[in-house]
């Protein structure tokens, strides 16, 4: 049983398209995140939601819009895709107060914009 699942695993699309990545966690965690790993392997936080409320919104172009319909789901919609958006996007979850255990990550979505 996958704890944090992301779909799709691979996504190849053309510049200018709009795409979505979905994330679901079955751990009962109350906080979910999107991280981006770029070509230099930096893992950078993009967004964080706690109980469906946006609590972290890093300097991310507003073409990226997260949506959390409930605390088990956090989706990422990207408008007008650009070449520089190519990266691996990781969803993660955690339980507030359980800092000793960090995040549980999904397996990632490799986005390639051509």
């Amino acid at each position: 049983d996958t704890a944090v699942s992301q779909t799709p695993k691979y996504l190849v699309t053309q510049m200018g398209n709009d795409k979505s990545i979905k994330c679901e966690q079955n751990l009962g965690h109350d906080t979910m995140y999107w991280y981006k790993q770029d070509s230099k392997k930096f893992l950078k936080i993009m967004f964080s939601y706690n109980n469906k409320e946006l609590i972290i919104n890093e300097t991310v172009p507003n073409r990226f819009s997260p949506k959390s319909p409930d605390k088990a789901h956090l989706n990422l919609h990207i408008n007008s895709l650009e070449l520089g958006d190519s990266a691996v996007y990781f969803c993660a979850s955690s339980q507030e107060g359980d800092r000793a255990y960090g995040y549980t990550f999904g397996s990632g979505t490799r986005l390639t914009v051509v």
Partner: protein, 111 residues
């Protein structure tokens, strides 16, 4: 501005020996540190953590040491096994919801 740095991109160690992975940070306000392991095509998996009020935490073959005055932490793996070959990330936190990650060190354990 890279607040968490892993200056060694790669490390090779013989099976059975100790692996030491290092991490430096710049912000003295970080209060929690974690290590993650990542295999190809998978997400990072949590290994071990340490609070800034401690200087050592141990879990089986894995020990994390924190030197606050030097703003340095290290992960020791003893004994190293071929299955430990992966990329290791350290991460530091300023609060509950945000961890800042290093760029990773690729560990190769040679059989």
């Amino acid at each position: 501005d890279q607040q968490v740095k892993q200056n060694s991109p790669s490390l090779s160690v013989q099976e059975g020996r100790i692996s030491i992975l290092n991490c430096d940070y710049t912000n003295s306000m970080f209060d929690y540190f974690l290590w993650y392991k990542k295999y190809p095509a998978e997400g990072p998996t949590f290994l071990i953590s340490i609070s800034s009020i401690k200087d050592k935490n141990e879990d089986g073959r894995f020990t994390v040491f924190l030197n606050k005055s030097a703003k340095h932490l290290s992960l020791h793996i003893v004994p190293s096994q071929p299955g430990d070959s992966a990329v290791y990330f350290c991460a530091a936190s300023l609060g509950t919801y945000k961890y800042i990650f290093g760029t990773g060190t690729r560990l190769k354990v040679l059989a």
